[in-house]
């Protein structure tokens, strides 16, 4: 028992409600700041309850039960708790809990609002990306369409010459090549595009056949990323393509 010994006897009397005068005031003051003694007070009251159980006697008359039931029938139960000094901490706790809940609700509402905003941004971004993707596909379809016709506008009156336009991004290994005015080839032959690296042998970069208008396109051939290109060249190869050039280039690129 961790009760303070100097209050032990008086605490027992207090539990029985028979402590009076200055002693009672002193115990009440001590109980206010001593949780151990408050706990001991509860136990002492429990001990007193055991004493109450010893009071065996006759059962109450049946009229008492009837009287109680009649009064209960007349009085609807009020769910009301009278304020009491010892319950102040509990009331404070309830208010604190209510306050905490309000804070949580506010935070949740704010978080929800931020999530909705974030979702809206993502949806807008997604719509934009879809739009860009649609446009890119449309561009690719146009570039690779069988009926795609390229026009080269030149000054003067000279007949149009074979011409190729190539865009290469070495970091991603992406290549787009557009040709125009390409001479028609004999059957079973095709043009082959070559990547000429800064060091090493030429690397195949796509096989193509010009259409009737002499136009052709090579879009994103399977190239390894990170190859630095010195230039590009086109040779005439068997229609299946070659692993290495088998003829002299018919066209060679120049930066521009």
């Amino acid at each position: 028992m961790s009760v303070h010994e100097q209050f032990a006897d008086d605490l027992a009397l207090f539990a029985l409600g028979t402590l009076e005068g200055e002693s009672r005031v002193a115990v009440e003051a001590h109980l206010g700041g001593c949780p151990e003694c408050r706990q001991e007070l509860e136990r002492l009251r429990g001990d007193a309850a055991l004493l109450a159980f010893s009071a065996s006697g006759p059962r109450p008359p049946s009229r008492s039960r009837e009287r109680l039931m009649k009064q209960i029938a007349r009085e609807p139960r009020r769910v009301e708790v009278r304020p009491a000094p010892r319950r102040v901490w509990w009331s404070a706790l309830q208010w604190a809990a209510a306050g905490a809940m309000v804070v949580v609700v506010v935070l949740l509402v704010r978080q929800n609002s931020e999530l909705q905003r974030s979702l809206a941004i993502r949806q807008a971004s997604s719509a934009m990306q879809e739009q860009q993707l649609r446009e890119a596909k449309q561009l690719l379809t146009t570039l690779t369409a069988p009926d795609a016709t390229r026009f080269v506008l030149v000054a003067g009156t000279e007949p149009p010459q074979p011409q190729g336009r190539l865009i290469y991004a070495s970091t991603s290994g992406t290549l787009v090549f557009l040709a125009s005015n390409m001479p028609k080839l004999p059957p079973h032959e095709a043009y082959e595009l070559w990547l000429i690296p800064t060091t090493g042998a030429p690397i195949p970069a796509g096989v193509f056949q010009p259409n009737r208008q002499g136009s052709a396109a090579v879009v994103k051939p399977p190239l390894r990323a990170g190859i630095e290109a010195k230039t590009f060249a086109i040779t005439v190869e068997p229609e299946a393509g070659s692993a290495a050039p088998t003829s002299q280039p018919v066209m060679v690129g120049t930066p521009g």
Binding site: L50, G57, P61, R65, L68, Q71
Partner: protein
Amino acid sequence: MAQLYDRHSGVVYSVALRVLGDTGAAEDILQDVFMQLWRNPEVFDANRGSLPGWLAVIARNRAIDGLRKRRPEQELSDLVVSVEPDLVGRAEWSRVLDKIRRVLGTMPATQRSALEMSFFEGLTHSEIAAKTGEPLGTIKTRIRAGLSALRKACNV
């Protein structure tokens, strides 16, 4: 409420009758205690003790108040009674009562008397001392030791 009454009215009535010695007054206390529970069930905290223990102490306090014709010293909601729930929750009443009676039976008569005068008659230790002619300190110690003996017997 009818079930609670059937189960616990005996204890409440017995305590009130023991204190007041009057069946009519004891019936009033019985009615009063159960109506209080009906009106404000929140005043009993099941986490802090057993209902019969709480009812018994409330009945005793009400009866003592009636005896002294004074206002209650404590609000019902202020009263916490720690009795082991299992002690009275199980159908072991007779065993528990046997223990209590045995402890009271083996207790020195002076101690039991001081305890019962304090509890069932609501006498202060000064009043008991005046009645028995014994020192105040002795009465205090006997009452405390008596409660302690009851606790020890029922917690084992």
